[in-house]
Amino acid sequence: MKTSFLRHRLSSALAVVLATTCASPLALRAAETAGELPVEFAVLTHAPHVPPPIGRRHPARVIVNLEVKELVRRLADGVDYTFWTFGGEVPGMFIRVREGDEVEFHLNNSPDSKMPHNIDLHAVTGPGGGAASSFTAPGHSSQFSFKALNPGVFIYHCATAPVPMHVANGMYGMILVEPKDGLPPVDHEYYVMQGEVYTAGRYGEEGLQPFDPAKAEDERAPYVVFNGAVGSLVGDNALQAKVGDIVRIYFGDGGPNLTSSFHIIGEIFDTLYQESGLAVAQHNVQTTMVPAGGSATVEFQVQVPGTYILVDHSLSRAFNKGALGMLKVTGPEDKVVYSGKEIDEVYLGQASTAGSDASKREVALIAERKEAIASNPQIAGLSKEIQMERGKKVFLSACFACHQPDGKGLPGIFPPLAGSDFLKADKERAIRIPIKGLSGPIVVNGKPYNNLMPPQVFSDEQIADVLTYVMNSFGNEDGTVSPADVKRIRTQTQ
């Protein structure tokens, strides 16, 4: 913060003097002879932080000093890995310049490095993106310059053979070339990069893990992580915002191989700039695909407090390989935008095991619910018309075979239901017949019958419905039968 303040306030001459303590002699020499453009030193930041906006409305000669360091770092709890880094962390340090700036780049390879390294910045127009000019043995420094012609958000990476290994070991980062007029102000800017790590051991296997070239060739990564390690953006390291803030995330995919399905659980990207460009915006995007060696810029306002999860929505990577991050939003609730949980109740579904406590409770609940419905025709929608309609279906599924579709029965064999004095005389007996069946001699409308009707396998509701139908059809006009009536009679007869 202090550095940015100084950068904005001090003259370029002062800035050069200020930087003499940390700049290489080579950089200083170049700075002194730069000519007409004002000279300044780029502010570089480690992820997830982003250097402050340029604020300048004129081009400058910007000096970037980036040191390559090879070092052992935590990949996951109990798991270490020898990372090769631009600036000591993964991803590499974020570089921010302005369209039209002339960038003087110094790549310094630490004397402790085992490998030669270089840098290919996708923001560079020229063969190799600077790689050929920045190839640097351990303990050496290379300088090259380029003009930032194209505004956008660009990846940089090491391009030394074997390139997939150098990238998989953490050698990627981002450079933002601000458009001439800058970017709209937001409340927070964050820097997140995805990358895979090809360890010899499986996910979570403890100890210092070597690189596995066979897994890299097959693109079988045990780890897919944000910002260089499992858990680099969770807990105390989570991204932060307050309700109402607008958040901008520069999201890059270092690869080396996998394309990201970048998504934030619980947020919609109000604005998305796909790929590198910042000119064309897409709105209301749920998930955006970010290619290996590519980037996306997303902006969204946070309306509701809580924790939002950044994921690669290719979900095994998120939940089995580490590609998870968090954005924590604090502030007052907005119950209209999001209510929080309103009801929490038992849902037993269809899958309870017979005999289990859950299934017993389920049976009890079903009975309770039926009772409540039966005792309240209004809730049940149990009008006579509905019962008649349902009862007709029951009648036509069984009863009509003997009593005939018109309810007149067959003389001497099956007694009639139409205009039946036997039916009308005793409602409880009428209910009992389909439950228990009926045999032996009876007299209906003055004519004798002696046959057998077996018990019917109908539910209480079905019996109530079919009796209501019969008692109000074929010229009959009588009352209704409720499931509760049937249940009572059934209980009595058993």
Partner: protein, 262 residues
Amino acid sequence: MNVHLRRFALSAALAFFASVAAAQPEAGMVLIPTGPYAPLLVGKDDPTTVTVPAFCLDVRPVTNADFLAFVRANPKWRRSQLGPLFADPGYLGDWAGDLDPGARAPLASPVVRVSWFAARAFAAWSGKRLPATAEWERAASAGFTTTDGEHEPAYRDFVLDWFGTKSPSPLPAAGAGRPNFFGVHDLAGLVWEWVGDFNTALVSGDSRGDSGIDRQFFCSAGSVGARDTANYPAFMRAGFRSSLRASYVVPNLGFRCAKSIP
């Protein structure tokens, strides 16, 4: 090299037996018999395998003690005496003084932070020469127990582990590592090593014009024309060599000497 190749193509077997009979390797060296070397990077018309004539190779890298004897005898190669043309600043940078390796450069450890010029001068002084890339790679292509280290899993893992591990400081003693099939120590696992023709790491010195491959070893240029893109150790060595210039001094770069068979 081509002269050698032609000679051995004519009478390889004869030359081999004659040379073995003629020269027992001197102390501290072993004979690497005539054999094949498959260059990592080959042009369209280049042979995929070349024959490397028998030669003698130091069993271990040159140590600080060895190099101390050299600078005692040759004052102009002492740290304070050497001009910038022949070594960058930092030459023998771990040493405590001109004639005092000191604690950071134990006598038995390999000498590092020496330029190609200094390595070559040492070799000449000791009656030897720097190995050619083909010779060095031929010797290093052997594993612990076979001549084909690339397909010897334990050896390949050993080599890859070293690439992914920081070098200890100070460096361990030279010659302490497990010898390879030819009896040579530390071709992997200790330090990088200069070769006489390090600056021809990519195909050949004049290949740029006709093959279109950039001399610099980056991105796809590094794998265009590669014989075996899966041979990571060979890639890394080729990459390392191509990052060097003759005046460079690098903290984990040493050398060893070779000798032709008369």
